[in-house]
Subunit: 262 residues, 2 copies
Amino acid sequence: MTRPPLSPADLRAQCRTGAWTAPTAGQAPGYVQANLVVLPAEDAFDFLLFCQRNPKPCPLLEVCEPGDPVPRRIAPQADLRTDLPLYRVYRSGNLVETVADIRHLWRDDFVSFLIGCSFTFDHVLIRAGIPVRHVELNCNVPMYRTNIPCTPAGRFSGRLVVSMRPLRPGEAIRAVELTAPLPQVHGSPVHIGFPEQIGIDDLNRPDWGDPVPVKEGELPVFWACGVTPQAVALEAKVPLMITHSPGCMFVSDLREHELLTQ
Amino acid sequence: MTRPPLSPADLRAQCRTGAWTAPTAGQAPGYVQANLVVLPAEDAFDFLLFCQRNPKPCPLLEVCEPGDPVPRRIAPQADLRTDLPLYRVYRSGNLVETVADIRHLWRDDFVSFLIGCSFTFDHVLIRAGIPVRHVELNCNVPMYRTNIPCTPAGRFSGRLVVSMRPLRPGEAIRAVELTAPLPQVHGSPVHIGFPEQIGIDDLNRPDWGDPVPVKEGELPVFWACGVTPQAVALEAKVPLMITHSPGCMFVSDLREHELLTQ
């Protein structure tokens, strides 16, 4: 017996009570999920500028006013302090805590950034009949640090992180066509074909996520990844940053097809 | 005898010496021109957030670091304090001065915003064989305040300003297709056909620019306009704001065709 899928509001309610602390991949199908980065106001301008200058890894779905935990555009009934399954708390670049609720840490000057996530374009590819290896294998997408510099902003600088999907040449072309009109979830790929050209030595050893096989006749296709802004903020050793825990995204009320009409 | 067109660098050099204080429409053809807004750091986060939340009227081509007058991405040899023909200085929402140079006003905390301008998409339409009425008539595009609310950010809120071009139905469709892939210069139209639906009572009385005739069988087509962020900042009565003088834009080194490949 399969249970009907949870709505975004139901899933967030379960997060709020502490009943749901698991990854959100595949949950609330058809709704946009987002990476969360929370920073004090003193770092918020530079980080917003970093996102503006690096839209492929950091597509901003919403930025909240200082102190406001409600994403009024993409989920006006939600509370970002309680409605994600798990949070990570970093101080001066070190992970100090993983918690299910950040109300006790919240400050009036906290600015929340919600950044597009590739779960959405995986669905777009699959609906178009393009197989996505890590979804087929039920593992996490492989992610790699590259040698591609991001455009710095204030204290934030670093290299682009990418995710990789192996595709046959015709699928790769179609994937470019399908993802180009979706800049809010990373847009078109940043590289096709030669991992070494972008500083990746071994596809079998991703920096995050799980390795997946690239078969004979397939090209590795690389997209900018939402892990980039977190990695860059950690390298900057900001005094305090709170993010979602990997895979435990914020589930918004925005439908995937609405991204095209923004 | 026609003189060869000035390059962006030549035109900026003439602005720098004070030799050029005229509008820039039609100058340095093929290069992207930009609206300039300069604000002190204390207002810069809210204004950046306003632009992020309202990308159609406020497409950011570049935002400089606090204190830096060099647009390192779109014109790395330029100086925004001298390289525009004329500037307007506003204090608490009032125009207090029009000057050809702002070096004497510059502060270490000034943040410069360069915002896409519709000159570029006029060229795209004309190259595609779509006549643009205000260019044919050699006047300024008509601009109107609408009843469409922008998404507020901090102290910045207000209604959308639009520009209008009369087009025949087939041209209007083609114009949507041509401008949709150019979000950095306002993207696709915001309205077609019924001025009264967006709060415009009389097309013959624009709030800025010059009226142009809408002929029998033509639809008025409305695009978000880069005057919006200036109008909003003025309504907010920010203590200090410096902008370009109307029509006297910043001429960048970015080629128009590069907008598509950003």
